[in-house]
Every structure is written in structure tokens, then in C-alpha cells.
């Protein structure tokens, strides 16, 4: 069978519209998430600008709430999730020796659902009454009272959810069916393992979120009262359903990041990953635990004490497998022969900042003290340390790690390092002071605050502007790397292992048409 005609594909716009090629779709995902990160980033600057000083300066309180809501939804569903799906699309087939994803046409569709969904979400700003201002958690009864923008958001969440479900079915089908001969499950790269587990989390939880927002929709328009006590419903029911999705969701955001760290650290330590088997089991354990801890987001709703104790103990347990992962990474570095190219810097930085988010997470798991941390800036600091410190730093690490394979050119190391240090420093400048703000009593999601919180808010705002503008370096670096630069070798990094390094740089349009043999 000739593969020649596969090399012919449409050029220009139709190439991207009709593509079923995993590399093209990966590229589309990555550019999409970049655009969404810019949009969400601008919103964060609106938030931080308003919080620069006490008093209302720039926006109205209602618009401020719309900004915090959209910033959250866009960054979670528009930036971090698609970024990892993009990385999976590019890398999974090359890492397991498959010619493409298992379901290429569905792959095209799962991407092309995203731009209309994102457009709808942003368009809600222009609906009568504006976008929802109830926070990304969309708690009723507040969301039942919202204007038409809320319906835009519900529809958008449905479309984003369908895209995620299709994407995860594809990833599961690919990993389970298309591994090269000889690559048993326990020989798979950790990135593939973490994505396999993440995909199952998505499959199990996205339909639950869809159920929750559908119930909201019928409460809003069709006279049901799932969440209205006056009609026999319960507003807290929504929170249970939402967080049954929402807690696994945070691991959906971070497990692929763990996979990235587990690829990069051994490469630059020139030493195999320490405790591969325990890494796999730790990831699976985290995934399992993520289903039985959801109510730790709701300690203050007035649960029975036994319930609170159960969720406290279960949540504390997550520290054990997470700790195992961190110890394994440190043990991988131990007595290695380390170099610190840009991807390694991002990976080490990511492990460091993620762990900070992890230990504040342990603080938050303790029910009695959580009553004081809950809904304050301490939470805001905590989850930005996990999501930016863990996931986003890992996304950058992964892009730097594989960019030479994608473009065939080396990127500028000095610029990559500058980007890393500026991002790391300004990220900490933004979010570290928010721990103190929360402890001292500043609630989250407020557009204006009491005078004693001024100092740290100023620091945080300065940091936020630095973080966002530092990303211009990244944009310049990537464009420069696509256009040219030193030719990248097939084996881009000296210590890198895996099938993706066996293919030429840049990776040809089709790889592994004949499956490689793994021993």
C-alpha cells in the first residue's frame, strides 16, 4: 500500500480546517490556548489594576465579577486543558510509536468545537446584562438570577465539555491500541501514563459538570427547582455536583504536568526516572483519591461533623502519593549528571512552586483551620501556585523540550532562560503576598478592600504586570524558532530517551508509518 497520497494535503486555510493529522491538530490546540491565555491574561490585568489601590478606580463592581468569572473559566477550559491536549496530540503518537491518533476525524472535531465555544464564552460579555459574575464555580442561586450571558456560558461549557470527552476517548483509544510492538503498559513513557489516567478522569467527570449546568439551565428557564429551596431543591446540591467534577478537574490540570516533569528531569539528570512503578501507582492513587475528597471545597456549607472528618482525612491522604512523586523526582536528580538547559529550569522551577501549592493544600485540608482560610486570598494564592506553579510551568517546560523537534530549529537559550527567570520571579511576586493577604483577612472576589491590605495588593499588581509582559519574550522566541535558527539534531537533548527522538527534526508530517520495535 502506497503512502504517497497521504503526503498530499490541502494548503492554506483548508489544511487547518480539514486536517486529521495529529501534528497539525496539536499545533492548532497550542495556538488556540496561546490566544486564550492572552485573553484571560488581559482579564487578570483588569482585576489586578482595580485592586492596585483601595476604592473603585477603573471598573464597576459587577464588571469586576465578570472579569474574575471569565478569567477563571478561560484559563481552566481555554488555556491549561487545551494546552495539554495539544501536547498530547503532538507527542503521544510519536512517544508510543503510532502513526497518528486512533480517531483522526474525531480529533479534528474535538479541536474545532473549541473556537466557537470560546467565542460564545467571550461574547457573553456583550449579552444584555453582561457575562455571569458568579465566579467560575457558577454557584446558584446567584447564577439563576444572572442575565442571558449565563446561558451563553452554559452552552459554552457544554461544547468545551464535549470537546474534552472526545479528546479523552481518542487518547485512551490511542494509548491502549496503538502502542508499538513490544511497548507494554509498564514500558510506556510517564507522559503517556499520566495522560491515560487523566483521560479517564475527564470521561468520568465532564458529564457530571454537564449535568450540573443543565440543571442550572432548567432551573433558569423551565421551572424546575433543583437548586431552589422554595421549590424543594437545595443550592448546596449544586456545589456537591460541581466539586465532584471540580476536584478531579484540578488533577486533570496537573497530572499531565507530572508526566512532563517525569520526562524532562531524567533527560537532564542523565539518569533513568527513579521509581517508575511507584510513579504509576502514585498517579493512579491520586486519581482515585480525587473522587472522594470533593467536599473539602465546601467545609463551610454546614455539613455534619462526620462528613467533614471523612473529607479531611481523605484529603490529607493525597499528600502521601503526591509526596512520593516529589521524592522520586528529587531521587532522580540525586547523583545524576545534571545540566540546566531551559526545559530543565522550567521543570525544576515547576516542581518547586507546585510543591509550595501542595503544602498550602495540606493546610487547607485541615477542616477547622480551613474555616479561616476558606474564600480568602489564601485560596487564591494556593491554587495559582498549583495551576501556574505546576501546570503552566510544565506547559512551558514541555514546549521548550519538544519545540526543536517540532520546528527543526534550536531556540535561543538565553531568551528561554530570561523568560524562565522573569516568569518565576514575577509569578512569586504576584502570588506569594496573597498568602499573607488571605491570612490577615482579605476575602477573595472583592473589587475593593480595607486599607490594611493595600501594601501587598500593590506588590501583587506589580508582579502580575511583569508576569504577563514577560510572555512577550516567549512569543518572540517561538516565532523566531519557527522561522529559523540553528539546525536541531534528531537527538535534541543528549540524555533524552524515547521514540520521539528517533524521528528526524523537524518531525516529518507522517511518522512511524511502519511501527518501530520496542525491546
Amino acid at each position: 500500500m502506497s503512502t504517497d497520497h497521504h503526503e498530499e494535503h490541502p494548503k492554506g486555510l483548508s489544511r487547518w480546517l480539514f486536517t486529521t493529522n495529529h501534528k497539525d491538530i496539536g499545533t492548532l490546540y497550542l495556538w488556540f490556548c496561546f490566544i486564550m491565555a492572552v485573553v484571560g491574561g488581559i482579564m487578570s490585568l483588569v482585576i489586578r489594576s482595580e485592586l492596585w489601590q483601595p476604592g473603585m478606580q477603573i471598573v464597576e463592581p459587577r464588571f469586576f465579577n465578570q472579569m474574575t468569572t471569565l478569567h477563571g473559566l478561560i484559563m481552566v477550559f481555554g488555556f491549561v486543558m487545551p494546552a495539554f491536549v495539544g501536547l498530547a496530540n503532538w507527542q503521544l503518537p510519536m512517544m508510543i510509536g503510532a502513526p497518528d491518533m486512533a480517531l483522526p476525524r474525531m480529533n479534528n472535531w474535538s479541536f474545532w468545537l473549541l473556537p466557537p465555544a470560546a467565542t460564545l464564552l467571550v461574547l457573553s460579555l456583550f449579552a444584555p446584562g453582561g457575562a455571569p459574575g458568579a465566579g467560575w464555580t457558577l454557584y446558584p442561586p446567584l447564577t439563576v438570577h444572572e442575565g442571558m450571558g449565563m446561558d451563553f456560558t452554559i452552552l459554552s461549557v457544554h461544547m468545551l465539555g464535549i470537546s474534552s470527552i472526545l479528546g479523552s476517548i481518542n487518547i485512551i483509544a490511542t494509548i491502549l491500541n496503538m502502542r508499538a510492538p513490544g511497548m507494554t503498559l509498564m514500558k510506556m513513557p510517564m507522559f503517556a501514563w499520566s495522560w491515560l489516567i487523566t483521560a479517564f478522569l475527564l470521561l468520568a467527570t465532564i458529564p457530571v459538570l454537564a449535568g450540573a449546568v443543565t440543571m442550572l439551565l432548567t432551573d433558569r428557564h423551565f421551572g424546575t427547582s433543583f437548586f431552589d429551596a422554595a421549590g424543594g431543591g437545595d443550592p448546596v446540591l449544586f456545589q456537591h455536583i460541581f466539586w465532584f467534577f471540580g476536584h478531579p478537574e484540578v488533577y486533570i490540570l496537573v497530572l499531565p504536568a507530572f508526566g512532563v516533569f517525569s520526562q524532562i528531569i531524567p533527560t537532564f539528570a542523565r539518569k533513568p526516572l527513579f521509581g517508575y512503578t511507584s510513579m504509576v501507582f502514585a498517579t493512579a492513587t491520586i486519581a482515585f483519591l480525587s473522587f472522594i475528597v470533593w467536599a473539602h471545597h465546601m467545609y463551610t456549607v454546614g455539613m455534619p461533623m462526620t462528613g467533614e472528618l471523612f473529607f479531611m482525612y481523605a484529603t490529607m491522604l493525597i499528600a502521601v502519593p503526591t509526596g512520593v512523586k516529589v521524592f522520586n523526582w528529587v531521587a532522580t536528580m540525586w547523583r545524576g549528571s545534571m545540566t540546566f538547559e531551559t526545559p530543565m529550569l522550567w521543570a525544576i522551577g515547576g516542581v518547586f512552586t507546585f510543591t509550595m501549592g501542595g503544602i498550602t493544600g495540606l493546610m487547607l485540608s485541615i477542616t477547622p483551620v480551613d474555616f479561616q482560610y476558606h474564600d480568602t486570598y489564601f485560596i487564591v494564592a494556593h491554587f495559582h501556585y498549583t495551576i501556574i506553579g505546576g501546570s503552566v510551568l510544565a506547559i512551558f517546560a514541555a514546549i521548550y523540550y519538544w519545540l526543536p523537534k517540532w520546528t527543526g530549529h534550536m531556540f535561543s537559550e538565553p531568551l528561554g532562560k530570561l523568560h524562565f527567570w522573569l516568569t518565576l520571579i514575577s509569578f512569586n511576586l504576584t502570588f506569594f503576598p496573597q498568602h499573607f493577604l488571605g491570612l490577615a483577612g482579605m476575602p477573595r472576589r472583592i473589587p475593593d478592600y480595607a486599607l490594611q491590605f493595600t501594601g501587598f495588593n500593590e506588590v501583587s499588581t506589580i508582579g502580575a504586570f511583569m508576569v504577563i509582559f514577560a510572555q512577550l519574550i516567549f512569543f518572540y522566541l517561538v516565532i523566531k524558532c519557527i522561522r529559523g535558527g540553528e539546525k536541531a539534531a534528531d537527538q535534541v537533548w543528549e540524555g533524552a530517551e524515547g521514540l520521539e527522538w528517533a524521528v528526524p527534526s523537524p518531525a516529518p508530517y507522517h511518522t512511524f508509518a511502519t511501527p518501530p520495535q520496542v525491546r
Binding site: M56, M305, I366, F371, Q372, D375, G441, R444, Q452
Partner: protein
């Protein structure tokens, strides 16, 4: 007012520059960079502070320990120093050790946490009960044992929020009616809400719980020392979530009893006022004040927020039959942000605000609603 979120550009420039100069003059002096919990004034608060600090120290030691090892490795085991990579990649012993040790540490944290939680959960033996109801965007307090009840709203002037006046010391943390509580008594709070979910939080008392419409939560406190303790709503509840503070004034039992008697006298006077016939001017003046509560949604000039909150200027309700108008103010509108004000406002307030709404914003209906009309509908 349009829905355009950006205020006029000139306004922004003026405000930002005013903010900047304010910062230079006083901001740096004011900023106190508090690092930790506010000083607790209850036993539970001190327990929580102790628990919090214990956990902070444990995790700090672990964090520093783990990353000391990592950074030692980063500096010593690098290729540029000629370090050759070892080849080990697993050790069951190590895996077991670093699974068991964290588990034991967690156990050590779980035991005191459980004890504290059990203590916090025990509302038995309380000596008085205050029911707290969250409204968009104010609090209502009912002293169930003393027959006293009142609303409490933000008292910071709008000029300070809009940067047109110097901000006071307790900016955004001040209210018209403070919650007066006796020290040394176990006080039970019952929490609920009328519209959306709120959360009642006073950091120094170490109490926080959600106030949920249709449900009643409970918690308790026992304040050790007299003083004024300030807090805020801690659950996003809409537009003015940032503007519904809580102020607790803890006083001796003697002062508390005096205060209760004063409150009762005020309430009796209010009942008397409801009995007389009011002139239109009186009602309009009073109504304008009461309308401040309505203006958060319906706008200071009755313009509303298009698409979310209906305007009152020329509206069907405010210019149609008086009975419909009264019904919606008193009974609210289901599934919207429009609350039932029967419980929140007295007869005079409702009569005044309805009269005001029917005659302000160009609605000139000429209708006058008397407190007695309202009373008849209750």
C-alpha cells in the same frame, strides 16, 4: 448609567492619579503588611491559631528539608563539575520509607485537628441565640431571646469608595448598626439567607459559615474581651459582595442589657410612627433614604441595569396599580434577585419607599401610600 463597564476615560485618569498621589502621601504610611491571622479573642480562635502555626512549622521543615536535598544535588551533581551519573533507579526500601513517614506526620496533624473540630461543632449549652440572615447586600440580626432585630448595612460613604473623599480608618469595615454581643457568654448563631448564599465571617472570633437560603446553619462563639471586631461576607453574593461588612461590638453583660433596652424603646417608637398619617413630603424624604437599599440594583435614578435589573423610571410596576407595586415590594419576585421586603422593612419604610418610587424618576403618579395601607396587607 449604561452597561459600559469602563467609566469615562477622564474619570479614570483623574481617579488613578488621585489614587497614586494618595499612595505617595499616605499609602506607604498606612500599609502595614500584616503577615498572619488577626489576633484571636476566643478560645477556639486561639486553638485554631495554634493548630495553624503547628502545621505551618511542620510543612516549612519538610519543605526546607526536601528542597535542601534537591538543591544540594543541583549544585553538586552537575555535569559541569564532572559528576558522572549513577545508574540506580529504584529502591523499594526508600519508597516504603517515604510513604510511611508522611503518613505518620499526617496522623500527628489529624489528631489535634479532629479534637478542635469536635469542639467547634458543639453548640450545646449556649446562653443566647442570634439569628443572622444574609440579604443582597446587608445583614439582618434577630436576637431571639431579647426580641430585638435590625438590619446592618455598610456605612462608608459612596464618596470614599469613588475616591472623591479621604478614606476613613475603617474604610469598608464599618456599618450603621453594629452587632452588640456580651462577653463571656456562649452565643449561638443561626445562619440563613433570603436570596443567594452569603457567609458570615469575623476573623478575630474565628467564626465563618455559609448563610444559605432555605437552610439554617449554626455555629457558636464565646468572646473573651470587650472590643470591636470587624469582618466581611466571605461568599460571592453578587455585585456588592465586597460591600457588606460585619461589625461586632463586644461589651460587658451590663452594657449589653442597657443596649437591649434602648433597642426595644426605639422599636416601640417605630410602631407608634406607623400609626399616624404621613404627609407626602414626609414620605418622600423618608422614602429617598430607604431607597438607598434599592438603588444597588435599580439605580440611583431608577435606571436599573439593563438585562439584569429592571429600571423603575416609567416602569409598569411603579406607574401601574398601587396594589401590584406593594405586592412586589413586600412579596418579592420568585427566581429573581427581587427579595420579599416584608421582613426587612417596617410599615413606614415600605409606605415611604413605594410613595417615593411612584413619584420620583419622573414617575409623577401623585400616589401616596400610608403605613396603614401596608399594615393592612400583612
Amino acid at each position: 448609567m449604561s452597561i459600559n463597564p469602563l467609566k469615562s476615560l477622564r474619570g479614570v485618569v483623574v481617579r488613578v492619579s488621585a489614587g497614586m498621589s494618595l499612595l505617595l502621601v499616605s499609602g506607604l504610611v498606612r500599609a502595614d503588611y500584616a503577615l498572619n491571622f488577626q489576633r484571636p479573642v476566643t478560645e477556639i480562635g486561639r486553638d485554631l491559631y495554634g493548630l495553624h502555626m503547628m502545621i505551618v512549622w511542620i510543612i516549612t521543615v519538610i519543605f526546607v528539608g526536601v528542597f535542601s536535598v534537591m538543591f544540594y544535588s543541583v549544585f553538586k551533581h552537575r555535569k559541569s563539575r564532572g559528576h558522572k551519573a549513577a545508574t540506580f533507579h529504584e529502591s523499594t526500601t526508600m519508597e516504603v520509607v517515604w510513604t510511611i513517614i508522611p503518613f505518620v506526620i499526617l496522623l500527628a496533624m489529624a489528631i489535634p485537628s479532629t479534637a478542635t473540630l469536635i469542639k467547634m461543632d458543639d453548640v450545646s449549652g449556649s446562653e443566647m441565640t442570634v439569628k443572622i440572615t444574609g440579604y443582597q447586600w446587608k445583614w439582618k440580626y434577630d436576637y431571639l431571646d431579647h426580641d430585638v432585630s435590625f438590619m446592618s448595612t455598610l456605612s462608608t460613604p459612596q464618596e470614599q469608595i469613588n475616591n472623591e473623599a479621604e478614606k476613613g480608618e475603617n474604610y469598608l469595615l464599618e456599618v450603621d448598626n453594629e452587632v452588640v454581643l456580651p462577653v463571656g457568654k456562649k452565643i449561638r448563631f443561626l445562619l440563613t439567607a433570603a436570596d443567594v448564599i452569603h457567609a458570615w465571617w469575623v476573623p478575630q472570633l474565628a467564626v465563618k459559615k455559609d448563610a444559605i437560603p432555605g437552610f439554617i446553619n449554626e455555629m457558636w462563639t464565646k468572646i473573651d474581651e470587650p472590643g470591636t471586631y470587624r469582618g466581611q461576607c466571605a461568599e460571592l453574593c453578587g455585585k456588592d459582595h465586597g460591600f457588606m461588612p460585619i461589625v461586632v461590638k463586644a461589651v460587658s453583660e451590663e452594657d449589653f442589657n442597657t443596649w437591649v433596652n434602648e433597642q426595644k424603646a426605639t422599636q416601640i417608637a417605630a410602631v407608634a410612627a406607623a400609626g399616624k398619617t404621613w404627609s407626602k413630603d414626609e414620605l418622600m424624604r423618608k422614602g429617598e433614604k430607604v431607597y438607598a437599599q434599592c438603588s444597588a440594583c435599580h439605580g440611583a435614578t431608577g435606571q436599573g441595569v439593563p438585562g439584569v435589573f429592571p429600571g423603575l423610571a416609567g416602569s409598569k410596576i411603579a406607574t401601574g396599580p398601587v396594589a401590584d407595586h406593594l405586592q412586589i415590594v413586600m412579596g418579592g419576585k420568585p427566581n429573581t434577585a427581587m427579595q420579599a421586603y416584608t421582613a426587612q422593612l417596617n410599615d413606614v419604610d415600605i409606605a415611604a419607599v413605594v410613595t417615593y418610587e411612584r413619584n420620583a424618576f419622573g414617575n409623577d403618579t401623585g400616589d401616596v401610600v400610608q403605613p396603614a395601607d401596608v399594615k393592612a396587607l400583612r
